[in-house]
């Protein structure tokens, strides 16, 4: 095999890998920008503090602890830092500190975990304080150099100016002196009204390489002497490898090693992935045991949960039983939502290099520290001898918060010490070995009095708990609070960012935990997606039963949440709600991940009952809008994710095996199905809400309610699969 084109990228990767285990890696690497003539003879500047390195050439390198997976958190966090730093935005670049460095430095960058739309909202305070401290230290260093008072100095766009003398010093000239100073203890952050970078629709920092193919993902890693692995884990959960016939594939071209991985998987290592994958597909394996689960059979268990005596109560108020006993009219319906798989475009992968002294892993991960812990555990080496180099993620959606594929890569690499091995999953493996968004059903009920006033609401969710499956320690008193996203109590600080915003006189939200033998996982939007369908389709059904306008009916119960009312009113106004134009519209308002969101969908259903989603107007109030154009991108993308699930998403288990193993059977939305999305970003300030997930929740309910407006039929079971919507 010849290799006619040699890539310079290889050289880069090898050197970054070799330097990886030392703490000096960051400072050394960031300083590589220093190539101005004046700086050429000097050693690179040390970092100003953990968050900021400034080169002698004034290049500002901002350290980003959270993972970028398309959601734009990298650019948003850099904006926060640059703002407090008073940096020149045009000189900003970013880099990831490694999880190993975080541990070695007493977790100076705190949490690396990237999920729950938390990237900015849970780190903005300490990230901004870190940047402000760096700025203060640089001003102090400049003042020291001039022998003047700090109060006489100002700073703007990376330049410190002494007012009285007019002297100026750029950041690069004082960064080294600043790094020697004590960190200030008294830090005041800028008032939001003075922001010039935060709140601006600046371009992403990571776009250029994504349009040329230069952007490197985990799947693209090439290390010197690297071999490739493909894996096949038991297609049935909890099954193990009984036997496999390595000799059947050992003679196939390029095959280097055939091996068992843990107790439930086999892998082939070869000189190319294509060959490794062909061999693993051809490898005869006998599996033993496992849960031969059928989704269809689970329906009965879910149904039983809908009316079971026992259920955990997530939120309640008033006396709901009396409200239903005295109701003039009761609306009741059952909604049914299937399993989903994350299906990020880049299938799982990790590259590992194991030696007797160290274990290094290159991988796309939403949780660098968990990946590091997995590497340590799988390698059997102390965590201080392991390191993880985070790669850009080709999508995460919650799937890459798990580290199963990291542990596999290390176990495989351990069989060939000194040889880097890239484990790449096939799409089929990715679909089969998911942590699935659980199926749930809900019985939703509302009580109306004689005048059409809503007197009681009862939602009984039946189904799997994600926390019970992957974080059982988070289950308190038998209750999984995450199940109640968007329906939860505002009084519990752990659920306040996921709380119910309607004011109901009497209500009870319950969950009957019913657990199938399926690995559950956090899936972009998580339970808010399901709960918004339950709540907001019920509200629509109730409005119709009460003979009231769905907008007015909702607003009548949002009296205590003016921000919810505002986003709902905004989409109604922009969409032409209530106008006599013959369009069929549906509404949804929901609060989750700390943000207020609403949507109005416009649909057409033709004579054959075929759906076309024509237009969506969406509004979001995330408090502070760090980058409005990226919020728009997330809102647009949220409709693709949410409507893909509504239209097609369904993972079906037969005899324990996933039936939809690639995009030909696990279909997702395409361009032709994309409605025009108009996004209203309406930050009201004063709080920090999430962006990547909350809008997904409003996608399906708005469309489902519009379908009712168009047809008089309610869709209560997903996916839609373009069934005839004119058939009741």
């Amino acid at each position: 095999m010849t290799n006619s084109i040699s890539l310079s990228r290889r050289g880069f990767l090898i050197s970054s890998g070799a330097a990886g285990l030392t703490i000096s890696f960051l400072a050394g690497c960031a300083g590589a920008d220093d190539n101005t003539p004046a700086a050429a003879d000097l050693p690179p500047n040390p970092e100003v503090n953990a968050w900021v390195h400034i080169g002698r050439d004034d290049v500002v390198t901002i350290r980003i602890a959270r993972s970028e997976m398309g959601q734009g958190t990298l650019t948003g966090l850099a904006q926060l830092v640059a703002e407090e730093l008073e940096a020149d935005w045009d000189k900003v670049v970013t880099e990831y500190p490694t999880p190993g460095e975080n541990l070695a430095r007493n977790r100076v960058w705190r949490d690396f975990s990237t999920g729950g739309s938390q990237g900015i909202r849970s780190s903005h305070q300490y990230v901004r304080e870190g940047a402000a401290a760096a700025r203060m230290m640089m001003v102090q260093a400049a003042a020291n150099e001039w022998g003047v008072q700090v109060g006489e100095c100002t700073v703007s766009k990376g330049v410190i100016t002494h007012g009285p003398s007019g002297n100026e010093l750029p950041f690069g000239a004082v960064a080294e002196a600043a790094s020697q100073l004590d960190a200030p203890s008294d830090i005041t952050l800028k008032d939001p009204s003075t922001w010039t970078i935060v709140g601006q629709p600046v371009a992403r920092l990571d776009t250029a390489d994504k349009v040329t193919g230069a952007q490197q993902y985990g799947a693209d890693i090439v290390l010197d002497g690297m071999l490739l692995a493909s894996i096949k884990a038991a297609p049935v959960r909890n099954a193990t490898v009984a036997s496999f016939d390595a000799s059947a594939v050992e003679g196939m071209p390029g095959v280097v090693k055939v091996m068992q991985v843990g107790d439930n998987a086999v892998a082939v290592i070869a000189d190319t992935w294509w060959r490794a994958n062909k061999a693993v597909e051809a490898l005869p394996v006998e599996w033993a045991g496992g849960d031969r689960f059928n989704s269809a059979d689970f329906e009965a268990e879910l149904d039983e949960g809908l009316t079971a005596e026992e259920a955990g109560i997530g939120n309640q108020g008033g006396d709901v039983d009396t409200a239903f006993a005295n109701a003039a009219q009761i609306v009741e319906a059952t909604y049914n939502l299937p399993f989903q798989s994350h299906a990020p475009m880049e299938p799982m992968n990790a590259t590992a290099l194991y030696t007797d002294e160290s274990c290094e892993v290159w991988c796309p991960t939403q949780n660098g520290e968990a990946a590091l812990a997995a590497a340590s555990q799988a390698s059997g080496l102390p965590i201080a001898q392991c390191e993880v180099y985070k790669q850009l993620l080709g999508g995460g959606f919650g799937r890459r918060g798990m580290s199963d594929y990291v542990a596999q890569a290390v176990l495989i690499a351990k069989e060939m010490p000194g040889t880097p091995i890239k484990l790449q999953w096939s799409r089929e493996e990715d679909q089969r070995q998911g942590f699935y968004h659980p199926t749930t059903k809900a019985r939703v009920r509302g009580a109306l009095d004689e005048d059409g006033n809503l007197t009681g609401v009862n939602i009984r969710i039946s189904g799997q708990s994600i926390l019970a499956g992957i974080m059982p320690q988070a289950i308190v008193g038998g209750i999984d609070i995450a199940t109640f996203q968007g329906l939860a109590s505002p009084d519990n600080p752990r659920t306040a960012d996921q709380s119910l915003k309607y004011t109901f006189p009497n209500f009870r939200i319950e969950h009957a935990m019913r657990t199938p033998p399926v690995r559950p996982g956090f899936w972009r939007g998580v339970n808010a997606n399901q709960n918004a369908i339950y709540l907001e389709c019920l509200m629509d059904e109730l409005a119709v039963a009460a003979g009231r306008d769905p907008l007015e009916f909702r607003l009548a119960h949002l009296q205590d949440s003016p921000k919810s009312a505002a986003v709902l009113q905004a989409v109604a106004d922009r969409s032409g709600w209530g106008s006599d134009d013959g369009k069929h519209r549906g509404l949804c308002a929901f609060y989750s991940f700390g943000s207020y969101t609403a949507a109005c969908a416009e649909v057409t259903v033709d004579d054959n009952g075929q759906l076309k989603i024509d237009r969506i107007v969406a509004a979001t109030d995330p408090g502070h809008a760090v980058n409005p154009q990226q919020i728009e991108a997330q809102v647009e993308g949220s409709f693709v994710y949410g409507l893909s699930a509504m239209l097609y998403g369904n993972v079906n288990f037969v005899d324990g095996e996933v039936q939809e193993t690639n995009f030909d059977t696990y279909n997702v939305m395409r361009l032709s199905e994309m409605p025009e999305v108009e996004t209203i970003v309406m930050p009201s300030g004063g709080f920090w809400g999430g962006v990547g997930e909350p809008t997904i929740a409003v996608a399906a309910p708005a469309v489902l309610n519009a379908i009712y407006a168009a047809t008089g039929n309610r869709v209560r079971e997903l996916p839609l699969n373009y069934r005839n919507l004119r058939e009741a």
Binding site: I5, G213, F663
Partner: protein, 150 residues
């Protein structure tokens, strides 16, 4: 040993007859801009051009490529990211995670090669690439912006 024309270069490369072009590009030629998403021609992440036509390289055996056929990958679409589609993509910040975008860009560039006046409707029917991040709206706008730069 087969001779391929890739991005204007002539390369001699050895591969098993059934190896899809995708893996020859990625693994033998180091052109990792072309992505693996599904391997069954369902997602478009692996789209490259053969003589200017967009093809899904994950199901295209490298051995089926003719001696004179010109393969263009995302790395060869332009020298410096200045192809009108790439320029439009940067201007509109189309990519999110970006993993699908080399394929998306090659599919769009291929469409515009054949149909420089492509409308939104043409885009909707011809561009069937999957983007799980959901960049479709900006892709649609990007096509129209790219047209003005051709």
């Amino acid at each position: 040993m087969a001779r391929l024309h890739v991005n204007g270069q002539v390369v001699d490369v050895e591969f098993d007859d059934d190896t899809p072009l995708l893996w020859v590009l990625r693994e033998q030629l180091g052109l990792t801009g072309t992505k693996y998403g599904c391997g069954v021609a369902a997602c478009g992440a692996c789209t490259v051009h053969i003589d200017g036509m967009a093809v899904r390289s994950c199901v295209y055996p490298a051995s089926a490529i003719g001696a004179e056929e010109q393969i263009t990958t995302i790395e060869g679409l332009s020298e410096d990211g200045s192809h009108p589609v790439q320029e439009a993509w940067k201007e509109l910040d189309v990519p999110q995670c970006g993993y699908c975008q080399p394929g998306m860009i090659m599919a769009v560039a291929g469409m515009l090669n054949n149909n420089p006046e492509a409308t939104d409707e043409d885009t909707d029917t011809e561009i069937t690439n999957i983007c799980r991040c959901g960049t479709f709206q900006r892709v649609r706008r990007g096509v129209q912006l790219a047209k003005t730069k051709m």
